[in-house]
Point group: C2
Chain length 220, copies 2
């Protein structure tokens, strides 16, 4: 399919023009981000927990310790909301009313499935590792049986999905144009700083994979 | 009080040493961030929505359109979870198992109160505006009666609050030290890019307030 079908739960109502359902645009947001906020409820109390994630095709993967409560709740079939937000800039209009934020936000609703077979767990972990740090899976030691057993991995199908995107300048009405203050957008970027090597590396180890630094951008 | 009292809902269980309840440390995280993820449930379905926020003393402020469903649900007394996450770096161990993320995350549980009196709404909006962009409230046009009426502002008391912080290098076991791959931390920073002025500014307007750019850092 080319676009997700908006549902009453994912359709953007306010600023409907900011609603995005196009699959390629949504996948681009999911692939740029690597931290999501996972919402679930226990006894009516909502919780929101930040988690790393990976995407492959129409599946999103989350992982954590086998003791992780959130993953246990999800594995039991709880409704989940996964939100990925990229903050692009501060929007500064001439009035307090027209301060805003440029952002791209994807919301995924559904249920998770606990992966139980070692090969599918390994595939999920490979996706997660390489989503955050491209190529990292191929260069590190793979999980051993004990590590794999102590890790829970869940997948969430990308079915009920929508996004909301704000971009561009402040929306000041013309009667505010002469207000004597700077107006516009202050763009924000995530940048990688200088890599901090671990203390115990052998002296002949090659430097950090350049594609990892490039994935997050550099400060120059 | 110097620290928040951990409750069964905010006490960090896994990696208990990463739990932070100290008030000053938590306030520092809340003051560095400006986007939170708000969790609430409607008919058992959790939703997680990104929102700008402001903090003043023991109160967190959220705002939005009077038509905003989330704020209406919160105003009706729904349980809420507000999560603020700062991502500090990518942790790269020698094994897939030891990939991680350095972060600081505050979780606030409670209920919101809808502000109804114009003066308290104005105070909440001032806090929000200046939390994101220090000093901005003083230089922009203040909300008029119509704008104020079309804006909902809620406050959430900082009572049941906890944080979890991961910092430092990967936790590789010594038997992995000789694995021939770079290991360490790739620090991540949010940086401000070049300000993009709005098209309609009068020619004699002063440049963007330097303290706004400094709040987000610069690329140099």
């Amino acid at each position: 399919m080319e676009s997700y079908t908006p549902t009453p739960r994912t359709k953007v109502v306010r600023h409907a023009d900011r609603g995005v359902y196009n699959r390629k645009r949504i996948e681009a947001i999911l692939d740029e981000g690597f931290v999501c906020h996972v919402g679930f409820a226990v006894d009516g109390q909502p919780y929101v927990i930040p988690m790393a994630y990976g995407r492959a095709g129409d599946l999103l993967y989350l992982h954590g310790s086998a003791g992780n409560r959130m993953l246990r709740v999800l594995a039991e079939g709880a409704e989940v909301c996964v939100t990925v937000t990229l903050v692009d800039g501060i929007v500064m209009g001439r009035s307090a009313f027209r301060q805003s934020i440029n952002y791209r936000c994807v919301i995924i609703l559904g249920k998770a499935r606990l992966l139980t077979e070692p090969p599918e767990k390994m595939a999920g972990l490979r996706c997660l590792t390489n989503h955050v740090s491209p190529g990292r899976w191929e260069e590190v030691r793979k999980p051993n049986a004990k590590e794999l057993a102590s890790t829970n991995v869940v997948e969430i199908a990308l079915n009920e999905v929508g996004a909301k995107v704000r971009a561009g300048p402040p929306l000041d009405p013309p009667e505010d144009f002469l207000w004597p203050v700077w107006a516009g957008v202050l763009p924000l970027h995530t940048r990688a700083g200088e890599p901090l090597p671990a203390a115990e590396m052998p002296p002949d180890v090659p430097p950090i994979n350049a594609s990892l630094v490039a994935r997050f951008g550099t400060r120059s």
